[in-house]
Amino acid sequence: MSPERRYDALVVGAGPAGLAAATTLARAGRSVAVFDEQPTPGGQVHRAVAAVPESRRALLGPDYARGREAVEAFLASGAHHIGQASVWSAAPGRVGVTVGGVAHLVEGDAVVLATGAYERPFPIPGWTLPGVLSGGGAQTLLKASGLVPEGRTVIAGSGPLVWLLAWQYLRCGLTVDAILDSTPAGNRWRAAPHLAGFLASPYPVKGLELLRAVRRSVRVVRGVSALEAVGEDRVSALRYRVGAGAWVEMGVDTLLLHQGVVPAIELAASAGIRQRWDRDQLCWHPEVDAMGRTPLAGLYLAGDGTGIAGAEAAALSGELAAHAILGTSEGGRVSGLLAQRARWLRGRRFLDLLYQPAPAFRVPAGETLACRCEEVTARALGEAAALGVPGPNQLKAFLRCGMGPCQGRLCGLTVTEALAHHSGRTPAQVGRYRARVPVKPLPLAALAAMPATDDERRAVER
């Protein structure tokens, strides 16, 4: 479906946050368009939830199945869903989007960016080999297509998704050969002071039973301190060590890597929203208030794109952003939403610290690829750092890291943290790649069709 020229509100992302924002706005009588790269609404967590067979929803568990209600409410709300739509620019009043290879500039009085999260890079030797997938990617294959790995399968890393995925695989009757848990042992002590907040939040009910079920059926290797994928044209084995112990090798057909998710901030950053380094989540958080308002009037942010807090908190923040747009008076519904969201956020702190990935898995060494697209090694980053480069943008100019089609999503955090490591500064001091429009590649012909004023044309013609 092609978008119309203008709407009252434009929402980017059809995950829990975007759907809640759009549903609330549409129910209040606003015309709303929701753009998402994916064909069906649901976002990462509820991928394809309304499109899959009932049996799949049952297998994947209640947290997944619940997404269906939100999707159905959204579909009934009158908001337009524009799927397979890639948004490459956003500013107050306007987004640029390609649908079916054609670029559109769509206008809207309010713009809500609910771009969600993607997985933190996991730069280990061999992570680019075919057969090595991200844990979230494998989960997406399961959710959307009912695909599960065949043969020897290992899940490695840290974070709730590692356990959730293993649990979902078990329910599908799959054998997971091992979980290589790379969570540093010391995290437990750092997280402990926040246990009370966690226990008071709605999280524990979700997690604990699941953990137990997985531990009963899967071999879990804890304290993994180093990991490599091995193979020629595809992965055939992995090597790991526990602590300072000896390397252990095992054959695998599929290796799934995951160490948490981080906000997708590119669109917000390209619109000029400042980013702040979050020391617990080890990623950038955009400048936004609890209602989703940004320093730019008319531009709102919601969901995990503002900081990782999970699907429920994302939906709450989406609804809050809608109320900010509608001008709903504070108090009543709004303060209730704020209070509920605060409970989720309090619980999050514990999880953030508990699952914080180890430095060795965030700052690679030697010939390990930091930038997959341009194949820039960790060694090259270190050598460039030794020239005294002041930050990621100069590093990018020197090495091309971040210049490939993923536009730095799979190396940005690595480069920031590596440079901080090499230069003895903090990530906040080192800074990040500058994000520029287009934040997703688009065909030259689509850009060529953009309207221009006479002055703009004259600035180019010669």
Binding site: Q38, R56, L129, P130, S145, G146, L147, P149, D233, C373
Partner: protein, 98 residues
């Protein structure tokens, strides 16, 4: 290597991968169809020629690129299967368009 759960819809579509006919589920992503057919690598990189295949399945990593119906560098995880789709794996940098 991936297999389909018994609840998956029937693979009623035929797509051509490098000229070879394989079965796929209409509406699933091309990347999923490739993986379901044992094809884990879809291209080699322009930089070193290393083999790569789908990694994130959510449109972020750009590892899943292939030529679809003659158009190079499409993200196979974002393109949906239709009967008769032609997919070519790629080696190195793309060529110009048609």
């Amino acid at each position: 290597m991936f297999r389909r759960l018994p609840d998956a819809p029937p693979a009623t579509a035929t797509i051509l991968v490098d000229g070879r006919a394989v079965r796929a589920v209409p509406g699933e992503s091309v990347a999923a169809a490739l993986l379901a057919n044992g094809i884990v690598a879809c291209r080699t990189t322009p930089v070193s020629g290393a083999a790569r295949g789908p990694y994130c399945l959510m449109g972020v990593c750009f590892e899943c690129l292939a030529t679809i119906d003659g158009e190079p560098n499409r993200q196979t995880c974002l393109v949906l299967v239709r009967d008769g789709l032609r997919i070519e794996t790629q080696s190195g940098a793309r060529g110009l368009g048609p």
